[in-house]
């Protein structure tokens, strides 16, 4: 993963990889014991990349994510207990706050136009803050990414896309479905990782 040179470290991240993994293990246990009232999408194997990256994300920046968002939320400063309670209520896919500025959506590509608008709003307000938009590799292939990426680049908006590539959309391999992968556009932060958990759930059937 390459961080563009224009960014400098703006905060210390005091969460370790082990703590991130432990949080998801706690969710996993609650889920398998029928204590979570909705689907969960668990993260693993990308702790180091995200811990490095969040050192460049200011605590007042906006972070937009998708259904697999627990790591992003924790690293951006969402209180772990609050996050766990929201997940327990079945709100894992929409853990949204303004303190810190964090929004997640469970619709593929849905956050992209929102990220563009937040960036346009920040620029119009002469703010120094920016937007970090985390999307997957299948989302990068969609039309909405292309138009939003193009617009943000052309208008010099404070919007940074981060592509998290596991080559999957649910169980569909992105390269097989599209026939060929597109080239990662310039000025996009990109990293690959391998999923440990299924798309949703833990791999264990839960009886409520």
């Amino acid at each position: 993963m390459k961080i563009p040179r224009k960014y400098t470290k703006v905060r210390d991240v005091n969460i370790t990889p082990e703590e991130l993994i432990a949080f998801e293990d706690k969710v996993k246990d609650a889920y398998e014991n029928a204590k979570v009232q909705g689907p969960v999408h668990l993260s693993k194997n990308n702790e180091n990349e995200l811990i490095e990256l969040f050192q460049y994300i200011h605590e007042e920046d906006w972070v937009l994510s998708a259904w697999r968002n627990h790591y992003h939320a924790l690293l951006h400063g969402v209180d772990p207990d609050k996050l766990f309670n929201w997940i327990s209520e079945g709100r894992s896919m929409g853990t949204n706050n303004t303190k810190p500025n964090f929004y997640a959506s469970s619709i593929v590509g849905g956050i992209i136009p929102l990220a563009l608008g937040v960036a346009a709003g920040l620029k119009r307000s002469n703010s120094n803050r920016r937007v970090w938009c985390f999307i997957g590799d299948m989302t990068m292939e969609t039309g909405v990414f292309h138009e939003a990426y193009k617009y943000s680049q052309n208008m010099n908006l404070p919007l940074q896309f981060v592509i998290e590539d596991n080559n999957l959309s649910v169980h569909t391999p992105t390269d097989t479905a599209w026939g060929k992968r597109m080239k990662v556009p310039k000025n996009v932060i990109y990293y690959k990782y391998k999923m440990s958990y299924p798309h949703h759930g833990t791999g264990k059937w839960v009886n409520f």
């Binding site: 929409g94 949204n96 929004y103 619709i107 929102l114 608008g117 346009a120 709003g121 307000s125």
Partner: protein
Amino acid sequence: MVLENGLIFKNMKYKEEIIRAMDWLGSKPDTVFTGQAIGCSGHAISTTVANVSQDKRVELPVFEETQLGMATGMAMTGWVPITCYPRFDFFILSLNQLVNHLDKMQDMSKGDMKPKVIIRVAVGSKVPFSAGPQHTQNHTEAMKKMLTEIEVVELMEPEDVFPAYERAYNSDKSFLMVEHSEFYNSK
């Protein structure tokens, strides 16, 4: 009013009231107007924002869904976007952002996020000539059934127009305002 040559001159209050509402919204420091043919000329709605200062009018490419998501995102940072669609038929391309995001954001943030967007949509005219099935549909009733947080207002009479936009701006929620471009020339 009947002129000397026998022609009847009607005072078109409907469009005048829309222009008055846009002038009023344009005077607010936190508003911004977005859409195709909003920064330049192009359709009936363009003529209603002509008095709004140019720096408040953002000309956008044709990307209807992204347009609405952009408006929502700008509202998340405190702006009040008035985002304009010249035909209901074009607006339905933005339903993902309308139904899945703007309309659900309050619920998905437990009331923490209440982006306020004023959406202007025009139903295309059928008289004196019809623009056809892809330019004249009115989906107002469908929108009312689909939306939970966004209020849908169909503007039928000139006297309804200004109070409706005034209420939309002073409210803390988003509005879908349905105008009839036919009324621009008939009421």
